[in-house]
Subunit: 186 residues, 2 copies
């Protein structure tokens, strides 16, 4: 009975997301298989992390596709994007920190593609006059992923409710903490 590679990756992601130093043994246990079988499917820890990276990229790009970033107001596209990407937020949070390990090597091309698409969305919003122009698209993109990670950790630690996830992130990213000034006539 062939192990479901996808399911193993899910289990590994779930564990590594909240314990990034888990050993291959722990990963195997979390995935419900033996360490030997884990090694049969992934040459080593590095290969496993790479596979998780590929999975994260795939889920990201899938979310980007589903969110239809080119349609409608940019702010609505951001809302759709956060909603679609939420299920992958935990995995992204793990990869977000793990990427620090890849310092020596070049970044995976997938991340560049994703970053370009997200930055492009923010740039579109700036050109349409929706978004302010003193914050660079690169920073807005980085901030989006940072907030996603923060939100994922917060939910994982039980300090926040999953149902608030999208609202917290989108509202802070788009509107900020300041209360919008009431329409005034004086």
């Amino acid at each position: 009975m062939a192990v479901d590679r996808e399911q193993v990756l899910r289990g590994a992601a779930a564990l590594l997301t909240h314990k990034s130093t888990a050993t291959m043994d722990e990963v195997a246990k979390a995935a419900g298989i033996s360490r030997a079988t884990l090694h049969r499917h992934f040459a080593g820890r590095d290969a496993l992390v790479r596979a998780l990276e590929a999975l994260g990229i795939a889920e990201c790009e899938s979310a980007l596709d589903t969110a239809r970033l080119d349609e409608g107001p940019a702010r609505d596209a951001v809302r759709r994007l956060v909603r679609e990407i939420e299920p992958a937020a935990g995995l992204l949070a793990f990869l977000y920190t793990e990427n620090q390990l890849f310092e020596g090597e070049e970044q995976h091309q997938g991340w560049t593609r994703i970053d370009e698409r997200v930055s492009g969305l923010f740039r579109r919003g700036q050109l349409s006059g929706e978004f302010r122009i003193d914050l660079t698209p690169a920073w807005l993109s980085e901030a989006l992923f940072g907030l996603l990670a923060s939100g994922a950790w917060m939910v994982q630690c039980g300090r926040g409710a999953p149902k608030d996830f999208q609202h917290m992130i989108v509202e802070l990213l788009l509107g900020g903490a300041l209360r919008p000034p009431a329409p005034q006539d004086g």
Copy 2:
């Protein structure tokens, strides 16, 4: 000549900030001392990380004091806080991820204190009507640290200029990405 413990911690922080898996040997080299001396001052890697945590907490609380969170408009207090905390952002970014390792144990009391003070600032802003009330103080606090970490990494990777650090973080946190509606009379 007694090693300057503070200086060693600075060196360790600088290295671990952008390579969280650095070995004791690398840390020692980065701090300009031998591994033996490093072990004489910090019983082990764990003790070193704990000391870095204490340093980070101390710098945070120092920044909180200097920023005088209780004075003036809350938005200005946030601006002062980010400005004061910027030098420690790299260290905080490291601790922000490293904290995942302390999952089993209780969180350091210092973080709780810091979180309460920052949350208190946001709560004050909500009560004064400056900040919107649909984002919890806990989330705003979490988001602040998340954005600090994102900003620190971005600067470290050369994808952003240090001079933009404060502006990027404060403006996004307070104002969000949306362009504020122009004062309109119709």
